[in-house]
Symmetry: C2
Subunit: 307 residues, 2 copies
């Protein structure tokens, strides 16, 4: 059976702190229209697509409130969901979530998968939170651990137009476990959003490898799990900090099939052949036959290497 899903990656340029939500949502709607015009059937936006990447600052409670969504869609994000319905085009959207759970306010770095009728298909909350709770000497300030709890929904996979979709956010893409968990949960396509500084104070001798280190784990993740990967950056100079672009669509062969070449609002599209997954599984990756889970216990048992 011939199975295709035309994927669009909607990379954005920077979102400055002064931008209103209406302005930013307007940019996303425009990108969604361009994706639809190019024949896209599913689009992915960046992590925290609605706001600036505020974990670059140490802020107090009163200052951060406006960065979170209490519900999605809400009054300010509704136009994007209306656009999905109008364009018949689903999307994945990264945003900062504040939820009433377990009798308290909980904050997550979240991505929602939204259907072509604007309804929620499923939600992912970022598992791998990088950075720290407070700024640390000698490192670029990155306070995701101050502003978010680790995700509590596992690595779910959702059905969308007959394809099985997994979601991941930024730092998740560096860990092979992310793709493997999604693969074992049945994913055929992994949608990723990210905000990635172009330089880091903690190891300036590695700064020239930032783009290589963006693509390498995603290409390997696609190849080793025989999934399509579509990854959207928030890119460009945001509040004085340069973020890399390099948004891409990667085939289950590990090949980059489409690549953004700006650090601004940009749409890339690829008609993904889901049949290629089966072809790739014929060469090496018959998982049920060849994986050896009984040998992998330590992976699920301990975080760091033995002393």
């Amino acid at each position: 059976m011939d199975r295709h899903l035309t994927l669009a990656v909607c990379q954005t340029g920077p979102v400055q702190r002064s931008a209103t939500r209406a302005e930013t949502v307007g940019r996303l709607v425009h990108l969604l229209e361009r994706a639809a015009a190019a024949g896209a059937e599913l689009a992915v936006f960046p992590e925290m697509a609605l706001t600036t990447f505020f974990p670059r600052w140490t802020l107090d409670e009163s200052e951060i409130e406006g960065f979170y969504e209490e519900r999605v869609p809400g009054p300010q994000t509704q136009p994007l969901f209306d656009a999905a319905r109008r364009l018949r085009l689903g999307f994945a959207l990264g945003y900062s979530e504040i939820a009433d759970e377990d009798g308290r306010k909980r904050r997550f770095n979240t991505m929602d998968l939204v259907d072509a009728d604007g309804s929620l298909v499923g939600r992912y909350r970022k598992i791998h939170l990088p950075g720290s709770e407070a700024s640390e000497a000698g490192t670029t300030v990155h306070l995701e651990r101050r502003y978010f709890e680790p995700g509590n929904l596992g690595f779910p996979v959702f059905a969308y137009r007959g394809a099985r979709i997994g979601l991941a956010l930024c730092n998740d893409r560096r860990w092979p476990e992310t793709y493997r968990m999604l693969c074992l949960n049945g994913a055929e396509v992994v949608l990723i959003g990210y905000n990635t500084p172009a330089v880091l104070a903690e190891a300036p001798t590695l700064d020239h490898l930032r783009m290589f280190h963006n693509h390498l784990p995603m290409q390997a993740g696609a190849y080793q799990n025989t999934v399509w990967v579509a990854a959207a950056a928030k890119a460009g100079v945001e509040e004085g900090q340069a973020l890399i672009g390099g948004s891409c669509i990667i085939a289950p062969t590990g090949e980059i099939a489409a690549l953004a070449v700006s650090v601004d609002d940009e749409v890339i599209v690829h008609r993904a052949d889901l049949g290629l997954i089966d072809t790739c599984r014929r060469v090496n990756f018959d998982f049920a036959r060849y994986r050896r889970p009984s040998e992998y216990g330590l992976i699920a048992e301990r975080a760091g290497p033995v002393a």
Copy 2:
């Protein structure tokens, strides 16, 4: 503390079935001499370095006997161990092992790590056996599962000249779990030997990607686990079957630091800076802090994706 280990990869060209063990061991000794002359402190030879890759044929018991080593060193392999002692250069050697264990003859696809005095440091038996027990229609004949049991020694890591060394063989290198298990067991350097056909009957549309698919998972494995990788191919046209070369030394950055450019006997050398491991861990890969083993249960529980 400044820590370096000069690694040598001793790629070999083909070993035809007609080659005597003495001839083949002679080639390996010569490669070890070249490695020592280049300042190497540890060398790696290919998988099944002593013989032709016999799993390309369906053979009966009487035909396969001569392909296995009953003990290493044995009378025919002793010259290689003598050379190690003479050159003060340890090595990892892939070979087909037949062992008396549990009251029966057991066969493994094995790699030994040998010290600079010629003594055994440690043994690895290949965990991920590709191919099949009998030839299957439409696929290139690859009968490792006929001739070997899966390894039963886990993913051990051994001390060598103050560095921690892990071993892996051929198909192992395609699975992210191999590197992760070695990383969690403390590896700083992963030595790999392989025999990899240049084309496969099962998916000829992917044949042009065979070298890319050789390097991609090893580069990602090095990067995602902050280890040095040194990988040795048996290359060239062996018994009519073309095997890829592409032997390499890969830094913990994922960069290929040295690359073989022939499909023949060839030595490549790189002075590996073990301090680079710590630098790479400062950027993202503080494993104990950031990995989330409680989220990875499925990896050690089930082999294939959910239905």
